[in-house]
């Protein structure tokens, strides 16, 4: 049956309020009288805090209290990752963080906090305190492979050689397979860089006492998990906390970690429940929240003359920064994807997650796949070139075939999704003509076009618990409110859920109201949004709950119409007798009657939890066309098209918005974004929005999103993940397009002027007569 609301570009439910400026984010809700907290950060990359002299700071007018790492009576180490908890200790995240530590492990670690009446006094106090900390400085290490070597500084005793985890995969026998004659070996190192989420609303939370409990209002993706972690961090019952999540100004994974909520709650408690607000300045967001894992790959493939893979090996070193946060999950996801994207019988793969004295890496849109996609697709391009095959044809030949089944995750590729996406994208951008047009150019300014794809799945089954709960309450006029554990952070989860409920109950979307701001005291349990699970996961509990409610509605309808339930249905807000199509009463009349009847009055409501035991492949591709100005070492992105198979699209307008956002993050990842540290001092160099080159309006061409809708059989409404996939294929597509234009295929990100100048000089594309002697392999 054709859908009435699903698949429609329904306007975002909160769009009007946001366009009027009356939407309330955390800072907008906080009372003016709140005290301001500023965190005191370590100014050494590795060390021990011997003493912090707080006397001078405490004298500054306006300073209310100064806390230091020595004020913790008991040290409660806690995990910060936004993962569902597990009763099996082997599955629990590593609990290695303190709200304030006397053992800073990176420049920007939290060693104290100031509470003041306004931000000026707080900043004055911080500047004074920073000069009155006595450290025992220790040597530090910033690179992942360096950190694994003997003699490198050890961050955590329980993890020798700073290796948080090391996993391997083996299939068939590489040793044997490479003995086959006539094989071509292709090898490459691929380097991805640390980047940051840069959501425009910095992390912010405030806390105050209420009865014998503490309320924490915070900008987060995972309110229920935040409550659990605050309890763990403070060594108190989890029920002693109530977490409220107002509208959020972007998260992208940074707010899928528990950041400063525990410290803020603890300070409020120390001050007898006073209202305290902790808002993180942009400079601290860059280094003291979470960043994306920088991963270095070494991939080798042995190709048969017909362009198929005989054997493949992969090694990946994943720089995790100073604390575990999400731990090995990011590296593991990349490794797990390697044998699936380009299946091969003989594969050896291993990956390490390594501690370094750098900002903590956590979840960021793609969760390891943008890095892996860059390595896999650069390597695939290199293999295609080695075999003198058209890159697109090479991919069509080697990519995961239809019907592929992955035993561990029970995922299955039900449709010819790769080819469908390639065809659609090639047609939109005019790929084939442009490939011909741009063959062997010679001028200073050259153009190139290329395509890349990626592997992605939806949600985290079977690696972790996948559950979603929903409550729907019907009002006397037949309209409903619904509550969900899945949080709205700008991706449109509320609107998608409303469309699903409208479809299931057959009432207009205007009668479906989200209770958007989750409150752990009221909202049914849910682990929040991450891993592109939003629409997919909530679909299960929403449909199940809506069906339960419909059952109650039809039973009530039976009471007032005498017709048997199986002859009744709910269509366009009316109770209809299916045998002859007659409309018997409106849903509003029914709801009113059922509530106020003196014979069996009942409030029509339903609530249920659904544990999801399935996953879904969500693939797609990106076509990028670039113009390279070789002398100026600049790349201009002319056109870009992403085609995604995310199953049935619930809301095309919002879905294309998600693709645009992912493309934008991918463009920055490819061309300009990179967090840098001073090798000598371990100090971050560009932790502000001026020196960290986020793409501006003038760095983007028009963005194009297209969809191939293969209904996902395992999904409640045929949907699959779409939040993260668009960020994955863009960087490799741009790299390959630059290669197509200049013949130079660069294995390092970002492809900024610095990188291009060095590579163009080495390759002789740039020859500065005055630099004849110096040109050559400059240090990577």
């Amino acid at each position: 049956m054709s859908n009435k609301y699903i698949g429609q570009s329904v306007t975002r439910l909160d769009a009007r309020d946001k366009a009027m400026g009356r939407i309330k984010y955390t800072d907008d809700m906080c009372d003016k009288g709140a005290l301001v907290i500023r965190v005191l950060h370590s100014t050494v990359a590795n060390g021990i805090v011997k003493k912090i002299d707080t006397e001078e700071a405490e004298k500054i007018p306006g300073v209310v209290r100064v806390f230091t790492c020595f004020d913790l009576e008991e040290k409660h180490y806690y995990p910060t990752a936004g993962h569902p908890w597990s009763t099996d200790p082997a599955h629990q995240d590593i609990a290695d963080r303190l709200i304030m530590t006397d053992r800073p492990l990176f420049y920007g670690d939290d060693i104290g906090a100031v509470v003041a009446e306004d931000e000026v006094a707080a900043a004055q106090a911080i500047r004074v305190l920073e000069k009155s900390v006595e450290y025992e400085e220790l040597p530090f290490v910033l690179d992942a492979q360096e950190a694994m070597k003997e003699g490198a500084p050890q961050l955590h005793e329980k993890y020798p050689n700073n290796v948080l985890a090391h996993t391997e995969i083996h299939m068939g026998s590489v040793e044997e397979a490479i003995k086959e004659p006539g094989l071509t070996k292709v090898e490459g190192w691929y380097e991805t860089q640390p980047v940051q989420h840069c959501h425009i609303e910095n992390f912010i939370c405030y806390a105050y006492g209420e009865g014998d409990r503490t309320v924490v209002v915070t900008s987060t993706q995972i309110p229920h998990i935040v409550r659990r972690v605050i309890g763990q961090a403070l060594g108190m019952d989890w029920g002693k906390f109530r977490v409220i999540k107002p509208y959020v100004g972007g998260g992208f994974g940074n707010k899928q970690d528990v950041l400063y909520e525990p410290l803020c709650a603890w300070i409020s408690i120390q001050l007898g429940g006073r209202l305290v607000k902790l808002d993180v300045p942009r400079e601290d967001t860059f280094i003291s929240n979470r960043i994306r894992h920088a991963i270095r790959y070494h991939i080798t493939s042995w190709m048969r003359p017909d362009g198929s893979f005989a054997a493949r090996t992969i090694k990946a070193w994943c720089n995790n920064g100073a604390y575990s946060s999400h731990g090995h999950a990011i590296a593991a996801k990349g490794l797990n994807a390697f044998p699936q994207l380009y299946p091969c019988d003989n594969i050896d793969g291993e990956t390490w997650t390594v501690y370094t004295n750098r900002s903590v890496a956590g979840a960021m849109r793609g969760y390891g796949m943008p890095q892996a996609s860059y390595a896999f697709e650069c390597h695939a391009e290199d293999c295609a070139r080695a075999m003198k095959m058209d890159p697109l044809e090479f991919r069509r030949k080697n990519l995961m075939p239809v019907g592929y089944y992955h035993a561990f995750s029970k995922n299955e590729l039900y449709s010819d999704t790769f080819n469908q996406c390639f065809d659609k994208g090639a047609e939109i951008i005019g790929y084939y003509d442009k490939v011909k047009k741009y063959k062997n150019q010679t001028g200073d300014i050259r153009r190139g076009i290329a395509v890349s794809t990626f592997w992605y799945n939806t949600a985290v089954y079977p690696i972790a618990l996948e559950t979603s709960s929903c409550r729907i309450v019907m009002n006397q006029d037949g309209s409903v409110q619904f509550q969900l554990g899945e949080t709205e952070i700008g991706q449109g989860a509320d609107t998608a859920a409303a469309q699903m409920i409208a479809e299931e109950l057959s009432i207009p979307v205007s009668m479906v109201h989200p209770v958007s701001c989750q409150d752990t005291d009221i909202t049914p349990f849910g682990t929040g949004v991450y891993a592109s699970r939003g629409t997919y996961t909530l679909g299960f509990s929403v449909r199940q709950t809506a069906m339960l409610l419909k059952e109650k509605i039809l039973e009530a309808a039976h009471q007032f119409t005498r017709m048997p339930v199986y002859n009744l249905d709910l269509i366009d807000g009316k109770i209809v007798r299916t045998t002859d199509g007659r409309e018997l009463m409106s849903i509003g009349d029914l709801a009113l009657s059922k509530l106020y009847t003196t014979d069996g009055s009942q409030h029509l409501t339903a609530e249920s939890t659904y544990q999801i035991k399935s996953n879904a492949y969500s693939f797609g591709c990106c076509f990028a066309e670039v113009e390279v100005d070789i002398p100026m070492c600049r790349v201009r992105l002319l056109n870009i098209v992403n085609v995604h198979d995310c199953g049935q699209v619930i809301n095309p307008l919002l879905a294309s918005g998600q693709v645009h956002g992912g493309q934008s993050m991918g463009i920055g990842y490819a061309l300009s974004e990179k967090l840098m540290w001073d090798e000598k001092t371990g100090r971050p160099l560009n932790n502000n929005l001026l020196d960290y080159k986020l793409s501006s309006f003038m760095d983007h061409p028009r963005l194009n999103a297209a969809f191939v809708e293969n209904y996902e059989p395992t999904s409640a409404y045929g949907t699959k993940g779409l939040g993260e996939p668009p960020a994955c294929p863009v960087a490799p597509a741009i790299r390959n397009a630059i290669g197509a234009a200049t013949g130079l295929y660069i294995n390092e990100l970002p492809l900024s002027p610095h990188t291009l100048f060095r590579e163009f000089s080495d390759a002789g594309l740039i020859n500065d007569p005055w630099r004849k002697e110096e040109q050559g392999k400059e240090g990577r």
């Binding site: 500047r127 840098m676 001026l690 003038m698 002027p753």
Partner: protein, 295 residues
Amino acid sequence: MYDMKALYEAESVQDAVRLRLEHPDAQILAGGSDVLVQIREGRRAGAEFISIYMLDELRGVSIDEEENIRIGSLTSFSHITKDPIIQKYINVLGEAVDMVGGPQIRAIGTIGGNTCNGVTSADSASTLMAWDAVIELTGSEGTRRVPIKDFYIKAKVVDIRPDEIQTAILIPKESYENCFGHYIKYSMRNALDIATTGCSVNAVLSDDKKRFERVRIGYGVASPIPIRAYSAEEFIKGKEINEENIKEFALTVLQDVNPRDSWRAGKALRQHISVVMAERALKECVKLAGGEADE
């Protein structure tokens, strides 16, 4: 909220001068797009400030009796770009300041502030340097005029006396008469960015448009303060307009620029870009002046 010990608001230029004398260590606040940010970062926190933002008398562009183009020091970047006199005689300055930050920064930022904070990356500085601008300062003893190349002393230090404020920037007639300029800003992104290197070239061609009568070239971020590449200017003076001379002109700039090596950009990259920009900017000037720069 900003950490200021005190804020004094000047109502007139004389008032500003009086406040400068009364509060010797108070710093001047014009548009504030740099100073306010440095207060928040801590560098200027807790200082006293004299705000001259309200002095409308220092805004506007005009031609004075000596036919200098007179730009009031508090004229905002966006107003300079849109000003008819600028567009007619020294459009390159309007283009240069139109590359500062974003539209909102250009609405608040002033050309006086941009030059007074003595930063080599200031987008207006390299062009003003290339057009031999003259800085007019007003103090208790009246006004004083300083050529811009003497105004910059060293990084972040300019020739402004304790009782003075900058009141105008003048472009002499012989500097702008049938002279055509082009500015290239090399930065890592196309908006909201500081120049990695800035190159401003202007040229006066011979009447038959075949030779270079005068060429001036200024650089930002090629040394601690904005500079002129005099050797290149000397080389090209009077030379015929052709590819070979232009290329040689571009190479000669290396004798004048000495960019430093930093994490923001390597020395080799800055040198390379300086040469490429010199060539391209000069070719653009020739085209603007109606000459033939053979492609």
